[in-house]
């Protein structure tokens, strides 16, 4: 049994590293297309991780969000952006490299540092509440959060209206 445990944790660690690598890729690639793909990969890996940590509902949510999000961005990047000229691309690559060159080194360093910190898990987790089903909690117990989420949605809507909508040329 111990073997499978180590195998599982190894797999999880691998997935986490993959997640971090994809995230870095989205930031560092000069081409927008590649960054969108990187985004898709990150959310996919995240969903897998959630399934592995046996919280199916959260994973499903993540999947639906990612499903909705990625195609929208995908289409917009393809339709709205045009290809950069070669020297434009080179210049962008240089500029990207200058800003984020050190990022991987930094991430590794932080990772190593966090390894040293030993956090004793010396506490007894309290018994889980009886119906812990997400649906029930969300709908019956936490109404206030619903209101919050609706507000965020409306806020987002106005954000789009204000920021992205073409202004008619002010007189």
């Amino acid at each position: 049994m111990a073997g499978t445990d180590t195998m599982d944790t190894m797999l999880d660690i691998l997935l986490v590293w993959l997640l971090v690598g994809a995230a870095m890729a989205t930031v560092m690639t000069p081409r927008i297309l590649w960054s969108v793909i990187g985004l898709a990969v990150t959310s996919a890996v995240l969903t897998i991780l959630m399934f592995r940590f046996d919280s199916p509902l959260a994973a499903v949510f993540e999947l639906s969000v990612c499903a909705g999000l990625i195609p929208a961005i995908f289409i917009s990047t393809i339709s709205l952006t045009q290809r950069l000229s070669p020297e434009g691309m080179a210049e962008r690559r240089r500029e990207k490299w200058r800003r984020f060159g050190l990022l991987p080194v930094l991430v590794i360093l932080v990772g190593v540092a966090l390894m040293q910190v030993h956090i004793p898990l010396d506490f007894v987790a309290p018994p889980a509440a009886k119906e812990t089903d997400v649906r029930n909690v969300l709908w019956h117990v936490r109404h206030i959060d619903l209101v919050g989420q609706i507000a965020i949605l409306l806020g987002g809507a106005w954000g789009v209206v204000v920021l992205l909508k073409e202004r008619k040329r002010a007189a």
Binding site: F123, P126, V147, I152, L154, W158, L163
Partner: protein
């Protein structure tokens, strides 16, 4: 009754936008204004009974809302600042389409802020923080000019960092306490408050709040966001948003939820002192009015946190009182800057001069606000700073008390500098024709100035009715 504070704006939002009839548009501003004024009236007038949770809605929705005296003070502040922002917004934003959007966004942010103040659950606290942040991002970038976008972007990025920290905090607390409502967490903290995990969680959550509150190590976004935002928005931001999202949550959690540990107080004191010093010194060197006021509000935030950090009930009272006062006179200062911007079109102090004779009301009110910020006696700022200093001295933190007092001299210095550059001296030619600001701006100026002076003079009454019960949290 409490839930109305959140539901009414939400319902308003929905109603205003559904039918798309032009008639509704005009009433939008009026509706928002009545909501804000109703909130103020509710706090001042409403009988104690209204504050309890029961109401016909109770049986349908289980809103874990409750309002102690601390929240009443905050609600009052939110109401006042919201009303001012609306009035200034109405006179500054001429295009009615824009104005409609502006009002809607304000309604969203009022929901968020009321939520933060009223909620009793850690996670919903986070949710409503997000609501306010979203509406603030958009508001900062309202004019879609380069500065606005850049400021919003910075705020967005740093709020993201804050979110990460807060969520880890909530997750860990969930792990330790099993639930996220204040009571369960408080109970858990009493028993297993000392273990590393809970300390880490508390630390993470508090740092998230520090970022939101714009205190020194985390204040990077604040000057850019404030100075590049359009005038009415910077009034809202400076007046109440950072206070509610950053400081109020800190006060609420430090007093009732998290364990009162010496280390936490130490952290608060150090962060507070650092932000006072850095804020004041940075403000000294500025030549852009709004950036200077931004740094000055960082410095004043530092005072509040310093008051909080000394842990005694008097310290809490001082902190909350200063929070309320600061909301008033900082808004007044930003309204003044809005008035100047409206008339002279610039906030660069070097190009201003001698506006005192041109814009007398703005001049007088800004002097009152400046003196109150610096803590000159007859005005409100003095009393709150005095209580903080007394609390610090009683807690034998002479060093911090010394810093607090000395820095108020520097505060006075840069505010006098501002006064001299803008209002005294000879009028620069380009502003020769400047007349007094529009009515929409002058009225809030007068109201706020009157409020500052009133709180200053009627200090004893204010202290008894509002503040001392806040100190009661502990007994």
């Amino acid at each position: 009754m409490l839930s109305l504070l959140i539901l009414v704006p939400l319902a308003g939002l929905l109603l205003l936008n559904l039918p798309f009839t032009p008639a509704m548009k005009r009433t939008a501003w009026a509706f928002a204004f009545t909501v804000a004024l109703a909130q103020v009236a509710m706090v001042l007038v409403a009988p104690a009974a209204a504050w309890s949770q029961q109401g016909f809605l109770a049986q349908y929705f289980s809103f874990g809302l409750e309002a102690k005296d601390l929240t009443r003070v905050l609600l009052l502040a939110i109401g006042i600042v919201m009303a001012t922002t609306l009035m200034v917004g109405r006179s500054m934003i001429t295009d009615d389409r824009q104005q409609f959007n502006f009002v809607n966004l304000l309604l969203v942010s009022i929901i968020g802020m009321n939520g933060v103040v009223l909620v009793t659950d850690l996670f919903s606290l986070y949710v409503f923080l997000e609501v306010t942040s979203v509406s603030s991002f958009i508001l900062i970038a309202f004019n879609r000019d380069l500065g606005g976008l850049e400021g919003a972007f910075k705020y967005l990025i740093l709020s993201a960092v804050a979110t990460v920290l807060m969520l880890t905090g909530v997750a860990l607390l969930m792990l330790v306490a099993g639930g996220t409502s204040f009571e369960t967490v408080a109970a858990a903290m009493k028993t297993s408050g000392g273990i590393t995990i809970s300390q880490m969680a508390v630390g993470a959550f508090v740092c998230g709040l520090f970022i939101k509150g714009g205190l020194v190590p985390f204040h990077g976004w604040l000057p850019d966001a404030y100075s590049s935002a359009p005038a009415p928005v910077s009034i809202l931001l400076a007046g109440i948003v950072t206070k509610v999202s950053g400081i109020y949550a800190l006060v609420r959690l430090a007093t009732s939820v998290f364990p009162a540990s010496g280390a936490m107080n130490e952290v608060l004191m150090v962060v507070g002192a650092a932000s006072i010093i850095v804020g004041a010194l940075a403000a000294l060197g500025q030549h852009d009015l709004k950036r200077m006021l931004a740094y000055s509000s960082i410095s004043q935030m530092g005072y509040i946190v310093l008051g909080l950090g000394c842990g005694t009930p008097l310290g809490i009272v001082g902190a909350v009182f200063h929070l309320f006062n600061h909301a008033i006179f900082k808004t007044l200062l930003f309204v003044n800057s809005a008035a100047i911007e409206q008339r002279t079109g610039t906030t660069d102090m070097n190009r201003m001069g001698g506006l005192g004779s041109r814009m007398p009301v703005t001049g007088v009110t800004s002097t009152i606000a400046a003196l109150s910020t610096a803590g000159v006696p007859p005005l409100a700022g003095f009393w709150s700073k005095l209580i903080i200093v007394i609390a610090l001295w009683q807690a034998h933190d002479y060093g911090f008390a010394g810093i607090a007092v000395l820095m108020s001299v520097v505060t006075l210095a840069y505010l006098l500098l501002m006064q001299r550059r803008i209002f005294f001296g000879k009028t620069s030619p380009e502003h020769a024709g400047v007349r007094e600001a529009a009515a929409g701006v002058v009225v809030p100026e007068l109201v706020l100035a009157a409020l500052t002076v009133a709180v200053g003079l009627l200090f004893p009454w204010v202290l008894n009715t509002f503040m001392l019960p806040v100190g009661g949290i502990f007994h």
